[in-house]
Amino acid sequence: MPLVTNIQKFSIHDGDGVRTTVFFKGCPLKCVWCHNPETQRFYAEMMLDEDKCVHCGMCEQVCPEGAVSMVEGRPELDQNKCIHCGKCEKFCTAVCRENVGKKYTVKELTKELVKDRMFYEDSGGGVTFSGGEVMAVDMDFILAMAKSLDREDITLTIDTCGYTDYENFVKILPYVNTFLYDVKVMDPELHKKYIGVDNKLILENLKRLSDDGGRIYIRIPTVKEVNGNDANMQATIDFLNENRIRVAQVNLLPYHDTGSGKYRRIGKEYEGTELHAPDKDEMEHFKQMFIDAGYTNTKIGG
């Protein structure tokens, strides 16, 4: 059963209309600029804000499994013993701990997602599965969820990096209204450098998904130092043209570092400190490149 890190309501930048976005935990990629580092690992974690921690040891005291121990005044968590009961979070004196990764059954998650039905129906919205990488978590669960939402007549959007076995797309396609498909960098070497893997599989899957009739929004997280240049944008356009990808919308998403603060809390180091968003004029220029190439439905932002 996959873990969920967040259920975000009134999500208005992840697809059409008013949506609820579910963030699943675990991702096969490792984008340098990732602003949801807590969704990278596939297992549950405890985030700790060390700046807030008062080293009181309350978490150690309340843990029923002895999974927390104070080492040099800092709470250490034994992943093997932790049952994610949340007690250390609740009783924390300084509100510095946060459990990341919650299990839901299909029934429980569906119940949560139908709550905003009224808003979906009025706005043409629905549910978005994001992550992490939803196509890389337990596909049986995702497929069951997709069917469950379909029975509720709630439309589903999948936000994906495309790095998965194509069979997964085949299974889920009948239940998905729109794919938000990330196309990050066209140069395979650069892709490997910043994202951790080569983009071959991602681009192949995109072509097959388009050929099989998937409705696709191309999303390009735009980073000045990585892909925010004419050459990359032109290469992207060329790829879309040559492979006759049927694109319903292009979204150019300017880089932002609002997630950088989370790295320390999850025990990681942010490697994107030297990255920047292209300036406004450059973004407008990239947008114009896509429009000129016939992708008239191109937007800056989601």
């Binding site: 975000q8 309501k9 009134f10 999500s11 208005i12 930048h13 209309g17 008013v18 309350m58 979070e89 609740k90 009783f91 924390c92 004196t93 300084a94 509100v95 709550k115 905003d116 009224m118 808003f119 009025d122 706005s123 932002h256 609002t258």
Partner: protein, 790 residues
């Protein structure tokens, strides 16, 4: 050329906005002399009518340069008459009101002398305030002083109503004719109330003369000014104004211009005969004006530019009239110059069709251009309202100054029908004041005061004792630790609530009869349906419908308190009740774990979480059922509203730390909005939670939502706003209003008030200049959960 106010309107608006509010002693002086000479000679209603006639015969007139709609309550714009028959200000009040920083009313040395030597000597001991306070029980006085509830009639008269169509279609001669017929119909042989009716009707008749005299005096003044006027354009305008005054207020208006002028005279008359809450709004002005607009346009004497200009002249008139001066607790519950005159646009017609017409759009343009906090502008959205209208309203709303607020037509109609109105009267009705619903033109729907629900819950925890005032205000039903189960706690709360509400209603009943007896309102009675026919005053139950309300405050706070206790003490056993009370007694200082559990890890109202929301439903149902349907003393019934004005700040100030982690003296939740920063799941979850309240069984609820501008930017942003509104209304939500502003702007505005003089925010049921609010209220608006989404 870009649209915008023309030069005339800019000038008038500048005068209105930049003139300091000042006390005008003329009314008090004329009234005092009149009563000194005549008291005892005539019946009370006749005296009231005669006084109005005397004031309108003698008062200083004002016809400002460039004005097209004329008439002021006092001697000039921002002049505020006083009402010593209701509340006679002490010498000290006269100084305090002038010198206080916020909502001040300038008084001169001369004003203070008049008050000391002329007004006070006569009115001391004779005011309604004196009568009311001397009749209240000791329990009432203790609760009132401690902030358990407030009393609306302590300094202002009942009113809380809104004009009906008749105001735009009837001349004062027509009313006189109606009164004459009613006098003729009195059955002196069989009706024991015959003489009372006769006196009431005589009073009404004299009050009509008063309005006619005011019109005649302005007519003469306009002619005189026209004679002297050198500018031919202005001379023609003055002549037209004089020509209008040959028709109104005496006869029914014939043109769009006259219709607006007629309404304004009625507004002035109602708000100067007494000092009623919520002024007198024009009701469905778009619908009342449309036939004049169409006829005049057809006749070629009106175009959209002129029609808009006349509306803007009216807007200036509203802004020229600050709400009469308030002091003490009444000031705390409603700390504003706003007099709650409402403009309601949209809705449906009496036969149920979409009510939006070309004048509706002109009103939106007017509101957009004028950006004035008074009048309070609203739109009423029905299922039939075109998306174009809703979006235009959203476009104005997202500019961030809090107007228009959005009301749900279908909910209002259901609320009115539920309270016994006919379908047609319900469709003619809507919301006025803050959010309260009534059958406009036919109902006295009187708000009597706010109820501090979280404070009643505090009493429950301390054996009926109030640690803040140091008094035993409630029943001795045991201390918190005595309640072994949640049900025991709940039952004790229920008894305390019933006890306090009984104290309030007993007081209300006396006050209601005192007003019926001693303070009739003849002109308000003339313009409210059925008072003439019944020969009975508005304040005595003469209207077609009569209802009274006690407004519940703090539903978010009390819900979160109960949820935190139920969850932590009874369900999860995270700590004991004694530990919690100890933490509360210490304002949670040194009790971080308990504080975090109740503040951050307990179910909270506003997150679409049934654990908390079902408690909200229980509290609401208890409050509603304890009050709704109880008889009033003038033949009506009680109901509830859930709205706070600024009272949630005052009520919070008189409560110590609460079980939800709210620190001592901080504001309680406002309207039906969640407790500050308790809602963490965004606006749809807030709306879902709020919609779980049965709005249709109230007479109004108030929901505030604040957005940063990016959330509602662009065409998509407008669609998002429209979706939230439509969805909330589909779930029977009554009212929603938006503050679209970023937090940083507000923090800057607080630091540098002079640089942000123009900044308007939605407070609660009305908008105000941010700089006019005191610090706790400013803080609260800053902290009101900011809904920002990435």
């Amino acid at each position: 050329m870009a649209r915008g106010m023309n030069e005339r309107i800019q000038k008038l608006r500048d005068i209105s906005v930049n003139t300091p509010v000042h006390i005008d002693m003329e009314r008090a002086l004329i009234e005092t002399k009149f009563y000194e000479e005549n008291d005892g000679k005539y019946s009370i209603p006749v005296m009231r009518g005669m006084f109005l006639k005397k004031y309108f015969s003698e008062k200083t007139l004002y016809l400002g340069d460039g004005e097209l709609i004329i008439g002021e309550k006092g001697c000039d714009p921002q002049a505020s008459p006083t009402f010593p028959e209701l509340c006679c200000h002490s010498e000290k009040d006269m100084v305090v009101m002038s010198e206080r920083k916020l909502v001040s009313f300038h008084t001169t040395e001369e004003d203070r002398k008049i008050q000391e030597f002329e007004v006070i000597p006569y009115w001391q001991g004779r005011t309604m305030r004196d009568k009311i306070l001397s009749e209240m029980t000791p329990e009432w006085h203790e609760c009132y002083a401690a902030g358990m509830f407030t009393e609306f009639m302590e300094q202002r008269g009942p009113g809380h109503t809104c004009g009906g169509e008749q105001i735009f279609t009837t001349g004062y001669m027509d009313y006189k004719e109606e009164i004459k017929k009613a006098l003729e119909a009195i059955d002196y042989m069989n009706d024991p109330d015959a003489i009372a009716k006769q006196e009431e009707l005589k009073g009404m008749d004299i009050a009509c003369d008063a309005v006619i005299i005011l019109g005649e005096r302005y007519h003469e003044l306009a002619l005189e000014m026209a004679e002297k006027e050198k500018d031919p354009k202005r001379r023609a305008e003055l002549k037209q104004i004089a020509a209008n005054l040959e028709v109104v207020p005496k006869y029914a208006p014939k043109t769009y211009w006259q219709a607006i002028q007629q309404y304004w005279f009625t507004h002035l008359a109602v708000t100067t005969e007494l000092n009623p809450w919520d002024a007198l709004s024009p009701g469905r002005m778009d619908q009342h004006l449309i036939k004049f607009y169409e006829a005049d346009t057809e006749a070629g004497i009106l175009d959209d530019e002129k029609a808009l200009e006349l509306l803007e002249c009216l807007w200036v008139k509203f802004y020229n009239q600050p709400a009469p001066v308030k002091v003490g607790i009444t000031l705390k519950e409603s700390a504003t110059y706003t007099d709650f005159a409402n403009i309601n646009t949209g809705g449906v017609t009496p036969d149920g069709k979409d009510g939006v017409n070309p004048v509706s759009y002109l009103i939106l343009d007017c509101m957009d251009e004028m950006k004035l906090v008074q009048p309070n502008s609203n739109v009423t959205i029905s299922k039939k309202t075109p998306a174009k209208f809703l979006k235009r309203a959203c476009e104005i709303s997202r500019k961030g100054w809090g107007q228009p607020a959005f009301y749900n037509t279908e909910a209002q109609i259901m609320e009115l029908i539920n309270a016994g109105k006919s379908l047609e009267d319900a469709r003619r009705g809507g919301s006025s004041g803050c959010v309260e619903t009534g059958a406009w033109g036919s109902e006295a729907y009187i708000l009597t005061g706010y109820m501090n629900i979280p404070k009643i819950f505090q009493l429950t925890l301390y054996n009926g004792f109030d640690p803040i005032s140091g008094k035993q205000l409630g029943l001795p039903l045991g201390y918190a630790r005595n309640f072994k189960t949640y049900d025991e706690l709940w039952n004790a709360f229920k008894k305390q609530l019933e006890y306090i509400i009984d104290i309030k209603i007993r007081g209300n009943n006396v006050i209601e009869k005192l007003y019926a007896e001693y303070m009739p309102a003849p002109i308000l009675s003339v313009v409210t349906n059925d008072c003439i026919k019944n020969g009975k005053d508005y304040n005595a139950g003469g209207s077609r419908y009569n209802t009274r309300y006690i407004q519940g405050v703090g539903i978010g706070t009390i819900t979160d308190c109960l949820a935190a206790i139920k969850y932590n003490v009874y369900d999860e056993k995270n700590f004991t009740m004694e530990e919690l009370i100890e933490a509360m007694d210490n304002d949670f200082e040194g009790y971080d774990t308990i504080y975090n559990l109740v503040h951050d890890h307990s179910p909270k109202y506003g997150n679409d979480d049934d654990y908390a929301d079902s408690i909200m439903q229980d509290v609401f149902a208890l409050y509603r059922d304890t009050i709704t349907g109880r008889p009033t003393m003038t033949g009506g019934k009680y109901g509830v509203d859930m709205l706070p004005t600024t009272c949630h700040v005052y009520f919070g100030d008189v409560i110590g730390a609460t079980a939800n982690g709210r620190k001592a003296h901080k504001p309680v939740s406002e309207g039906i909005s969640p407790e500050k920063s308790a809602d963490t799941h965004g606006p749809t979850a807030v709306i879902k939670s709020c919609a779980k309240m049965d709005h249709l069984s109230t007479a109004g609820t108030l929901l505030n939502q604040k957005f940063t501008p990016d959330v509602v930017a662009g065409e998509e942003g407008l669609n998002n706003m429209a979706t939230l509104i439509r969805s909330y209304f589909a779930m029977d939500g009554h009212h929603i209003q938006f503050n679209v502003i970023d937090k940083q702007t507000l923090i800057e505005a607080q630091k540098h008030p002079d640089e942000y003089k123009d900044l308007i925010v939605r407070v609660a049921g009305y908008s105000d200049f941010f700089r006019n609010l005191d610090k706790p209220l400013q803080d609260e608006i800053i902290n009101r959960t900011e809904q920002s989404f990435c």
